[in-house]
Symmetry: D2
Subunit: 375 residues, 4 copies
């Protein structure tokens, strides 16, 4: 299933978000979070810190504390443990915007920046918030990271884990087979690549590109492990369709694949098929995992690897030709603060969207059957 | 927006489908079709014929007329023209299954075929229709083609066109730049590739693979033209997220990209940006179209090209090792009728899903603004 | 929750319907029915027969067999019992229209019948099916009865029961306190009132009204028993809001109340409060049930009684003044076949809508909590 | 249509709410508000002030400023007028809780108050916020009033007006025919009844009941005027079904009727039918309005009157017997601050829910037809 609409994501575990880059606050509402989950505030903030600007020299210099305030939906445990527990009610939260420098954007008020959302927002709504990209700013993803962090806390209880990493920057890539990587190293470097040698090359490339006033694209890979059999729906709500929509809704994403993905276009059935092997208690495993842990739209218990392609950031520190709302050709000069490469900070966002997708599918799967007649 | 759920696709133009490969009928309900559209029955049937088995030696030998019967939601035009007009009410339809050969599948009742949905359905539901794949059969897409045909009739009235073609089979590919292709040639060959030379090579490869009892994957490309500015939503309902989810919901799809897609991972911003050029009446066009006609999740008026990766068909005419529901290792022998390559028949399905996605986004966009106060 | 849209009802157990009074068929798709439910076809048909026209002299003379054909979503039990089992896949079904007499309606093509949907459909859609009310005909409720019958088969397995009856016709009413009635007598008379003496008076009134070419309204009462604690949502998806929307979506319904309903407007808190009494295993019961089994929008385990007001049928066997689409005042003369009182045939429709509402809420409630960490 | 789910109301104009009585804040997100609407902050605050506690001696003594802070989705008009304009992006807002007195509720931690949501929340979620009713508190409706105020600003631009008033308190009622009332007098008295003589009697009754430590129920009536023809859907999304669900989702509501409502149960068709009269430009009006402005689920252009029944407030200033979570019978003593009659403060809530329902239906109706082929 997928009942994402407008600014709401998810069917039963639902995140609704609001907020612009230069408005008062970014925030949202998490609805449908199961009751009784322990809310680890330090973990939630740590996830936000992974997304925060200014965390390394690879990212924008905009300084934001990005401190989250939870406004509802939780309660100190009646057990007296001092833990914060979810109550099953909607969790409202806000993150105040602080370091905005709105006046930096004054002369962009009437200009359509190339490959930004300025033109399409203006034409669709007749009005747009020109300050720092308004709603189309990547600051919108703060709310996704909060929702994802809480989803991860639920998944942890279920033994499901979601990890993502920078797999490629420009033409520098680490191994595509995640089983050959040591995922414990992801956070060991600023670029979030689990191969330290490749990570260094990626950093060098990003700094070189930054020095040229340019930007660079890349690919984030991820894997979901511990997922039980049965998540996803047969027709339009196939698990990978949900996962793909989640990833494609992240700013700057241009493609999604799972399992062997586009490479399967060149494969034969005899190479691509995953042969079943009997396992305990009527279950089966597979000899290989070309399918990527999903068959017929439903998880088969194997890991779910996927890849997400990001275009280069559209804001350059170079002059660019473009048009304005009056129909004039104009040249825009470099301004604002930006990332030369969005990948390192996008890793937690990819994880957040994957975590919410899987939790939602898990909750939906709980109602596929009824208790037997004797109950 | 995207309120697809379970067996329903779309938010305002909604297709709900039902039916198994060997059940009584495949069918569905199209809800939210605008009133007053002329229903060209010949066109709808012709679209089904493009998807029909047995149309060439490249496809399965299963013979099905696949004749659609419309059951509601239309009326002879009050004008007396004899045309059939939509009334704004739900359009129910069925296509009877005829050439089923269910007994072919008797010895697969307890077996999990490799890379099929047998195992996941059985584990999720505790029961599965083993005959010809049941609900996971590609016959489910008949309903999508009917929905897509009616969506195309609406889009035609709006000047929007959707075209898809076989762009790659195995390692044989035609040009990726659709502007270099003559799309009027798509239907000139059985494989539905607009480059006749490449098409012949693809056919040769498919027949060779078929002779070996094997199957082969490929890529279908498509393009949406004539799309106005403004379709799609900023956050979770980005137009390409909707389009991607639509494509990923088709059987055997493993990846989706739009615009320059995965290739943008290697590009720099200075290469990838689409510079705006003033056009008439306050509008703007772009010098290039790396973005693929969508910026910030909203259509910008340029064509929307995309690519969809298909894995090879999982049914082989070779013995394969697998497991059964009793926990035994078993060998399955070739049976059933199948396509050696799903691409040629999947072209109308890709078009159908794209057409429904765009029409839905068009209808949603009609309510973004209110009439001015004077009205 | 309530994600009913257009012609789809329900969130997880979902009924999508199509069909007009004089089209080829009435039908629908039931999506989200749990797998493994035994489909008792005789029961489903018997429910339709309770709604069927021509079942007594109180109802329209239109003769329809109203035989339902299930097209998908079920399978003979793998156990060999011969029972039909649901597979968790969508259940498509149709009921062919037979006894249509469309030409009876020729001279109503351009006329807006008073208190019918002719005017509003015409203004909304620009086209309307004038034959027998088209989509606004009560024949649309055939699909609801099929969906409700299958929901009842699920609820039976859960020990939940739904009953409705004719409580009032015109100014003839039986006792409002359902605990004072013998509900086993509902089907003992044509009007479906469990009080045989009152039932006879109701029949007499209906026949008298019919003899005068007039029609009469009434009230259907119902009660849901065996409902567990916990169904419904706190805010917008309150269980009674869902139930009310379900009832108000039935043709001719003008009001809904539950528990003591409108009578509570005149009560004091000290009269209206239901005091809790400790029961076994940490549960509680209530001394009274003014609340009607729902508190804070969530079922409390007590029976859920409700009442639904129906207006008199708008088709009269008398001349009536009205307007046509050309802006003329016209007089319509009696035509068509109709019920003098809709109540007796509406009883199974009320039950069907209640059954689907409760099953949907039951399924939704299954995902409110996660399994404990040890799992 | 109706895609309200959990804590989200509406399909295209959507309000998502969060917050408990004694949490940090009440708030929400308004999604789908058309762009370019002038946000009159004084009007929004004035609507909240109508709902605010402590506004008269008829209401609870809890003192709350209930000041709303808008966090996103609006921008100073580019025209320089200084007006605040909606941008089409989600409008986040919060209202801080201030005067909470949580310790008042300490001894209710383990007790199920009669006819409150304590028991059902506890059984459903396994945990509940016992402070002031937690999420089930009427403070949740603050968010509805904010959403309704913004909906009213949109409706004003469309010439649609929504008004509600206290029509009955206990057995004191003003005239049921709204056309006989002077609705400009609603705000002239504390009880919000447009008949000043009856209003005084209502106030006297409320104060008398309050003096006895008791509470009293009542009925709020409302009317929607200026509504165009065509709002609402034929089947499950009938306009009155949406309106009814909206009203039934308000705390303490037990019944809903529209047009002549329950009284139509006793009417004959010849009395109840609204005869059409030709009007200008192919439109028609009706001689009477028993139907309540809706026929076949779709608005017919006439006013839409409705009535909503409220039970008496469950919190009494008297001892009451009940049960606790340990299975003990206990007596609760009076505590907390409460309203003796919820009606006066519920008037703006009823208006808010009606306004959001109608605006949502208006937006949905904009996509029923396509522009003609020539466009």
């Amino acid at each position: 299933m997928s009942i994402s609409q407008m600014n709401t994501f998810g069917t039963l575990f639902r995140l609704t978000t609001f907020g612009e880059s230069h408005g008062a606050a970014i925030g949202g509402v998490i609805d449908g979070c199961p009751a009784g989950i322990t809310l680890d505030l330090d973990f939630i903030q740590a996830e936000l810190d992974r997304r925060r600007p200014g965390q390394s020299r690879l990212t924008t210099a905009r300084k934001e504390g990005d401190k989250v305030e939870l406004l509802s939906g939780c309660l100190e445990s009646p057990s007296g443990s001092g833990e914060l527990k979810t109550t099953g009610q909607p969790i409202g939260f806000i993150v105040r915007n602080e370091n905005q420098h709105s006046s930096d954007y004054d002369d962009l008020r009437d200009v359509f920046r190339p490959s930004h959302a300025d033109y399409t927002y203006y034409m669709k709504y007749g009005i747009r918030d020109h300050r720092g990209g308004g709603r189309s700013s990547a600051r919108e993803t703060i709310s996704r990271v909060v929702g994802g962090a809480i989803a991860k806390l639920c998944l942890r209880q279920l033994g499901i884990d979601v990890k993502a990493w920078t797999q490629q920057v420009g033409n520098i890539a680490c191994c595509r087979d995640w089983t050959q990587l040591d995922l414990s190293l992801i956070e060991s470097n600023a670029v979030r690549c689990p191969d330290p040698v490749i990570a260094q090359q990626m950093e060098d490339l990003i700094l070189q590109v930054k020095g040229e006033g340019d930007t660079i694209g890349g690919i984030i890979a991820g894997v979901i492990t511990g997922c039980p059999v049965g998540l996803g729906e047969p027709a339009f709500g196939k698990l990978h369709a949900q996962l793909g929509a989640a990833m494609l809704s992240i700013n700057a994403v241009k493609g999604f694949e799972y399992g062997d993905g586009f490479a399967m276009a060149e494969m034969r059935g005899s190479e691509a098929n995953d042969l079943f092997v009997p396992a305990s208690q009527g279950k089966a495993t597979t000899k290989s995992n070309h399918s990527g842990g999903i068959q017929g739209g439903i998880s088969n218990g194997q890991p779910i690897p996927f890849r997400v392609a990001f275009k280069p950031v559209a804001t350059l520190l170079r002059p660019q030709e473009t048009a304005d709302i009056h129909g004039n050709a104009v040249t825009i000069n470099p301004r604002g603060r930006h990332d030369p490469c969005v990948l390192p900070r996008a890793v937690p966002i990819v994880e957040a969207m994957a975590a919410m997708t899987i939790l939602d599918a898990y909750l939906l799967n709980q109602q596929q059957t009824l208790p037997p007649p004797s109950l």
